[in-house]
């Protein structure tokens, strides 16, 4: 394993992208930073700009309005980066499957930009914070 990947695992800065979520997954993501879970113990930090990010936490079905923005945000992120599809909607469009405004789950949109993107899925409605931490650990251990 190269030093780049080793240090990436030690310090994952995440950027939160909402592509039409109901705010439930978003609250659970913010919950990770609270004293109870405190993911800063593992060097995980929420940053304000995709340029600084190593991981994109994408929540929500990708709506027609949000899809170009998601592509743009992915292009703006400095590589190497990991995409996390958080919640049932982001993984497989969930209960909105087939609705008129849905253009597809997160992985489809990301793969249009970069077919080799690293995408991890954390299902649940919303996923528990423990599930998200477990997802991050699993994704980082296969890198």
């Amino acid at each position: 394993m190269s030093w780049k990947m080793w240090s990436l695992k030690k310090s994952v800065w995440v950027f939160h992208v909402n592509t039409g979520a109901c705010n439930n997954c978003d609250i659970e993501i913010v919950n990770l930073l609270t004293p109870k879970y405190d993911v800063e113990r593992f060097g995980i930090k929420l940053v304000g700009s995709p340029r600084h990010a190593d991981a994109l936490l994408v929540t929500g079905v990708v709506t027609a309005q949000a899809a170009p923005r998601l592509r743009e945000v992915y292009r703006q992120t400095a590589k190497p980066c990991v995409v996390f599809a958080i919640g049932a909607c982001a993984c497989e469009t969930g209960i909105f499957n087939g609705a008129y405004h849905v253009v597809g789950p997160v992985d489809k949109i990301i793969r249009e930009v970069d077919p080799n993107a690293i995408i991890a899925y954390v299902p649940g409605c919303p996923p528990k914070p423990e599930a998200m931490i477990s997802g991050v650990v699993k994704a980082l251990s296969v890198l």
């Binding site: 240090s7 030690k10 800063e40 060097g43 340029r51 600084h52 703006q76 400095a78 590589k79």
Partner: protein, 313 residues
């Protein structure tokens, strides 16, 4: 030849770049750890800032399409060079006691350089968020420079017109009323210089998404982070030298000096963690009106004290 090599060693390794960076990253860890403890969290491990810098070194460096490339690339290096000179100068004065007359003025100039570099870099990055950040940073610089210089004038009066940092560091101006006022005002100015919370208006993550450094990534972001880490060493060290009687190099003075440095750092962190962010107009008003009035009073007290020989004024 040997002297030139020695100077290179001074600048690049021992009290200069390498030493200050390591110390600064440890100081970064103290900031994050104490903040975490204040918020009842566990906080990051000791080597976290080192991992962060290492990771940023290995990332892709993106340059925005519309950015002014040269300025965008050079600005972080300008800021780093300024802090490097400042910290080397301060350490050298502490260790060898070789200072030149007027070095406090040179230090004041060098302390502006990082903010100036941030303004240059962010205005070259062609991003609306960075533009807002730039404008706020410029106003903030104008706000805090005046009280900072006034606070140093108080010190110069208290030490009998000394313009030499090694001579100033032999006095402890903070043990008088005017010196204490000046120390508190200078502490708040340093807070603003470091971009810590009540004055992190330019970098406010919630509104302008880390404003001034929004477009920086990879190695260039690492340079900014290293620069901020070095400032975390140089600026409290400068405060300790000017107000609290300086640093020793051996035995008890060294431990006592380290204690003073950590005291200033923890004071900065506690202010950071117990205050909400100010608006830019509130910050300007705070620095110019409240700090300004307090410092004018301090200057009057200090002049009365020095002309009548009353040391505690």
């Amino acid at each position: 030849m040997i002297e030139a090599l020695q100077n290179v060693f001074w600048i690049l390794i021992f009290p200069g770049f390498l030493f200050t960076v390591v110390l600064g990253l440890v100081a970064c860890w103290i900031v994050r750890k104490v903040s975490a403890l204040v918020q009842w969290r566990v906080g990051p491990p000791l080597f976290q800032p080192f991992y962060d810098i290492m990771k940023l070194m290995g990332k892709e460096t993106l340059i925005p399409q519309d950015a002014q490339r040269t300025v965008f690339l050079v600005a972080p290096l300008v800021g780093l060079a300024g802090v490097l000179l400042l910290s080397t100068m301060l350490w050298r004065i502490t260790i060898t006691q070789t200072a030149f007359v007027g070095d406090i003025i040179v230090a004041i100039y060098l302390m502006v350089l990082p903010s100036l570099a941030l303004i240059l870099g962010s205005s070259a990055s062609a991003s609306p968020h960075a533009t807002i950040g730039t404008s706020r940073e410029m106003k903030l610089v104008m706000g805090y420079e005046l009280p900072l210089v006034l606070a140093f004038i108080v010190v110069i009066i208290k030490t009998g017109g000394q313009l030499n940092l090694a001579a100033i560091a032999e006095h402890t101006p903070a043990l008088s009323i005017s010196g204490m006022l000046a120390f508190l005002a200078a502490l708040l100015c340093i807070q603003a210089k470091l971009g810590f919370v009540p004055f992190d208006i330019a970098e406010s993550e919630t509104e302008v998404a880390s404003g001034i450094i929004i477009e920086y990534s990879g190695v260039l972001l690492a340079v900014w982070k290293v620069m901020q880490a070095m400032m975390l060493v140089a600026l409290p060290l400068f405060l300790v030298m000017v107000f609290l009687g300086g640093f020793g190099t051996t035995g008890w003075p060294l431990i006592w000096g380290t204690g003073k440095y950590v005291f200033v750092l923890v004071l900065l962190i506690l202010i950071k963690n117990t205050n909400p962010r100010l608006r830019i107009d509130q910050a300007m008003k705070f620095f110019w009106v409240y700090c300004g009035i307090a410092l004018v009073v301090a200057i009057i007290l200090a002049s009365i004290g020095s002309s009548y020989g009353i040391n505690w004024l």
